[in-house]
Symmetry: C3
Subunit: 263 residues, 3 copies
Amino acid sequence: VSRFITLTTDFGRDSPYVAAMKGVILSINPAASIADISHAIGPQNIAEGAFVLGAATRWFPPHTIHVAVVDPGVGAKRKIVYVRVGDQQFVCPDNGLLSYVCRDRQPEQAFEVTNQSLFLDEVSHTFHGRDIMAPVAAHLSLGLLPEKLGPRLDELNLFEWPRAQPRVNGFTGRIMFSDSFGNLITNVRREDLPGDVHPAKFVVETAGQRFTGIVRTYADSPAGAPVALFGSSGLLELAIVQGNAAQQLQIPLGHEISMRWEV
Amino acid sequence: VSRFITLTTDFGRDSPYVAAMKGVILSINPAASIADISHAIGPQNIAEGAFVLGAATRWFPPHTIHVAVVDPGVGAKRKIVYVRVGDQQFVCPDNGLLSYVCRDRQPEQAFEVTNQSLFLDEVSHTFHGRDIMAPVAAHLSLGLLPEKLGPRLDELNLFEWPRAQPRVNGFTGRIMFSDSFGNLITNVRREDLPGDVHPAKFVVETAGQRFTGIVRTYADSPAGAPVALFGSSGLLELAIVQGNAAQQLQIPLGHEISMRWEV
Amino acid sequence: VSRFITLTTDFGRDSPYVAAMKGVILSINPAASIADISHAIGPQNIAEGAFVLGAATRWFPPHTIHVAVVDPGVGAKRKIVYVRVGDQQFVCPDNGLLSYVCRDRQPEQAFEVTNQSLFLDEVSHTFHGRDIMAPVAAHLSLGLLPEKLGPRLDELNLFEWPRAQPRVNGFTGRIMFSDSFGNLITNVRREDLPGDVHPAKFVVETAGQRFTGIVRTYADSPAGAPVALFGSSGLLELAIVQGNAAQQLQIPLGHEISMRWEV
């Protein structure tokens, strides 16, 4: 049992909807400890929500309950699910939000959330985050067994997470996320690369911009330099030192990159 | 007694002023639990603050202390007040911020906050949120009786909350708030409508845009469709499915809408 | 020992990096209480970070641990330090972030943070906030003695904080910070001024705009009036009543102001 609950939504940080979810949680479990992961997911952008969940949730204490509400299908037929992956727990719509968290691993447990006795008395058609997911998370944080939530699920609605594709002496990949510094985070993982190639021999290209060599950290290059490096998430990042690559290069999320190395 | 305190201000989420208020509260009551409702109220926009307080505070645990600082008259003659409405408590300037919370109900208790022994030692002329309201809320969260705050008040400074006006087979109302999805929330309440009219027979018009029929939820209509529905607050909302009505329709807050139904 | 930890970064409030730091802290000390000061410091803007730390941290309970991550030199040779100033504790890069906090006082204690047994098992080259500073703060909040962090430091890397310069019957100063209302906060302190000059006799000028007299609070002047006043931080502020001076006057941070008084 964990008293930790996190929230990830596309509501905007200062939305009264976020506050309502916190109020509902604390009304059910006054000892719950709520942390915001992000409320700036693009509206209805399930892929961005999936990336942020994958990047942030694994740092939380075991058994933390992560509530994610990016829910374009609210009020329609999509399920709400409880999923345990490793030692982290998730409550969210079954719309692909867990595709990155589950990229390399099977969920340990999944239940459809159907037990209405756990919901708010009145359930709206447009805000299941407040009326269903928040109270369910609060009950879990009080020790409710996941088995009580509803029927076991054998299959989740996950999309295939885009992986970097091997090429001759290289990869093609994609821009997955842009952080607040404008650093462009790709889906090329450090462990995908050959270990015996000198970092100076790598070249990354995207949208007509070329990044030569892989540096260790931003401070190794002068201000304004375009650099490629493996960031804190173990993923290849494209950055402009003390600049904003996303703004300066105007490369959209999802755009292809190519990486190759000389042998 | 409640250890829960919420904050609603026009300071901006990342303002050192918000942090100072939290520091003051925790210095007086280290066990206080502080939740942010919103710090994105438009500068000095009392009506927007009033709406957000009305929308969010009712979801919090009984006896929660809600501090609201939208305070264009700071340092001038406006009072600072403590008000209990139902089982929620408020500490704020007496400038109309509670007009929506009190729309349909009388406050149970109101006191002017004058007991200087509860304030910070030095009270600035420009930041009573930090110097008066934060410490007063912290003392209340430790069990201070509201009677100790100052003299009982018989009247609060509330403005008449704009209500939808009945017309022949319809209503005129207003846009009260725009949420982070750009959904336009009006002051027409579900319970104002006749129960025996088919949802398809309603028409809403504003600023030359027509919304035909009232849908149950966003997912019932295709992307890009203008829809009217009763949102999670029980109020009529105008939305564009998977779009941003506020941006696309450019309808300002306060703008009139008309709603009618065929009989 | 304090369970209170604050965070000040340039990551953006909704960054998964902020969430990761919180997760790391709570994983080490589940009883830690984390407050955000600001995550909107301009990218790599050490001076702005220094101002916000100086403005906000002093309001927190004694022994609070303030973690500040504005870190353009991450992965390079800059040290990470623990510093105690008065009864507040700081963990941050040794890059000048404490220049305002230490403007008028000597730190009581300073240690370089080198004890790797306190870090995460894997330390990235680009995110020491998560891998070093967050876990160190969490261990301190559990009662770890600062002496265990690493060698004592005799000197910190601080820059000279710009002070208002006396002139004949006046001062020259600078715009240090713009708050969310667009109020321009300068480095002229109330205590720098002569006590025997009538407030109406002061004139402030900057960028061709003249502010006549020093008012007590915003509400003393009509909407739209340019006013000068001593704000809640004891510093001279330039404001437009119910307007946004930063936007309307387009005066950049760091810009010079001149103040004089008639005798």
